[in-house]
Amino acid sequence: MAATTVTDATFDEVIGSADEAVIVDFWAEWCGPCKMIAPVLDEIAAEQAGKVKVVKLNVDENQDTARRFDVMSIPTLIVFKDGQPAKKMIGAKGKGALLEDLAEFL
């Protein structure tokens, strides 16, 4: 399954109801590096289905959630485990490096 979208309104429900780890991709239209990692995250979402879930949050439209988790740079990926933030990763990177960072959740 490809990455799905969350908003300020749906965030808590989506994160709270997930059985698997959830990777939240904080992104925006104007962020070049965000666009570079989007297809990589889609691939990870498809290949690791059942182990992790990938959701995207547009920081332009959902500033409350971005502020709540102290996002000061994008792309930022925050992995939530059992509804709680477990790991924060800042900056774009290639698929291999991303999978290494995510190893503990896979």
Binding site: M72, S73, A92
Partner: protein, 339 residues
């Protein structure tokens, strides 16, 4: 390992992609190793991926967004059959022909790719201040990308360190969000171009702190890691230190070429930029290794424009094509250069 290619292009900014368009149109079937995503300018598309509006690239009277321009160049290269791979080169061997390129494990016995010619267009990336805790503060108040991170500093006071075009460009851009932008510069005048200076001096949200160097990052330790709160700065004329508080700090003190891969293999200037136009050749893009060409910011610390990079990419492509013809590797030069 696959067959020996005619040409491998390393890097995918305006130089690399222009070289790709030209060599693809000349049926050289170029392999472009575009790099991997990163939040520095060492990424596919290069430095323009971290910019917003490009106002001076000819052909775009209304301007064009940097990432959009790069995605158009990439499309254009693909249209002519360039083989673009999102991989990062970990090692090259330019000591013997065909030249060898490794992806992934640099200790692997067999190279990943081989080619008769190599075009180096790996570009340059932002310099940092090299102060303690710098790396972990990136993304926690410290940034090298105003276009990526400026948004998060709405109504805050921001500091930009630097005095060249990119510093002024970042500062001007940041005034869209920030309540105030202070430019910290170690000298008492800017290196930036006249038009950029005028823009900055006219902007009443921009203030200057002249003759000032950064001594230390000030930060608070928090549950999510350290969070920047400002800088300790030093006035080089008065010798006084002071604290400058800021919600965000952006570093724009210049660039260094991405030439680590080529150390000991290609001739470089003291500052690490590749030397092109080697003696004994009419080929402007030739490095000191026969068959290896360089274009774009990796060999240019003077002009450093998207259009000069693209122009030099075209030159490298034509040089590579002529080189292949001279070595009987292709039957004729296909790029029309006489009109």
């Amino acid at each position: 390992m696959s067959d020996v290619r005619d040409v491998i292009i390393i890097g995918s900014g305006p130089a690399g992609l222009t070289a790709a368009i030209y060599t693809a149109r000349a049926s050289l079937d170029p392999l472009v190793i575009e790099g991997e995503p990163s939040s520095t300018s060492d990424q596919p598309g290069g430095q323009l991926m971290l910019t917003t509006e490009v106002e001076n690239f000819p052909g775009f009277p209304e301007g064009v967004m940097g990432p959009e321009l790069m995605s158009s160049m990439r499309e254009q290269a693909l249209r002519f059959g360039a083989d673009i791979r999102t991989e990062k080169v970990t090692k090259v061997d330019l000591s013997a022909r065909p030249f060898s390129v490794w992806i992934g494990d640099p200790e692997a016995a067999e190279p990943t790719y081989q080619a008769k010619t190599v075009i180096v267009s790996t570009g340059a990336q932002s310099l940092m201040l090299n102060l303690p805790r710098e790396n972990e503060l990136i993304g926690h108040g410290l940034s090298t990308c105003a276009t990526c991170d400026g948004f998060f500093f709405r109504d805050q006071e921001i500091v930009v360190v630097g005095g060249g075009d990119s510093a002024i460009e970042e500062a001007t851009f940041l005034t869209k969000f920030a309540s105030k932008v202070t430019i910290v510069h170690r000298r008492d005048e800017l290196r930036a171009s006249k038009i950029m200076q005028d823009r900055a001096f006219k902007n009443d949200k921009i203030e200057f702190l002249w003759d000032t160097t950064v001594e230390e990052y000030l930060f608070d330790e928090g549950p999510l890691g350290a969070k920047l709160r400002g800088l300790r700065v030093h006035n080089v004329k008065t010798g006084e230190d002071s604290e400058l508080l800021a919600g965000g700090v952006f570093i724009a003190i210049g660039h260094r070429p991405n030439t680590d891969l080529f150390k000991g293999q290609l001739a470089m200037e003291d500052n690490g930029y590749l030397i092109t136009g080697a003696a004994g050749t009419e080929m402007e893009s030739a490095t000191d290794v026969d068959g290896v060409f360089a274009c774009g910011d990796v060999q240019d610390h003077t002009y450093r424009q998207a259009i000069t990079a693209a122009g030099s990419g075209c030159m490298a492509a034509i040089d590579a094509e002529r080189w292949l013809e001279a070595h009987d590797d292709i039957d004729q030069v296909r790029t029309e250069t006489t009109w």
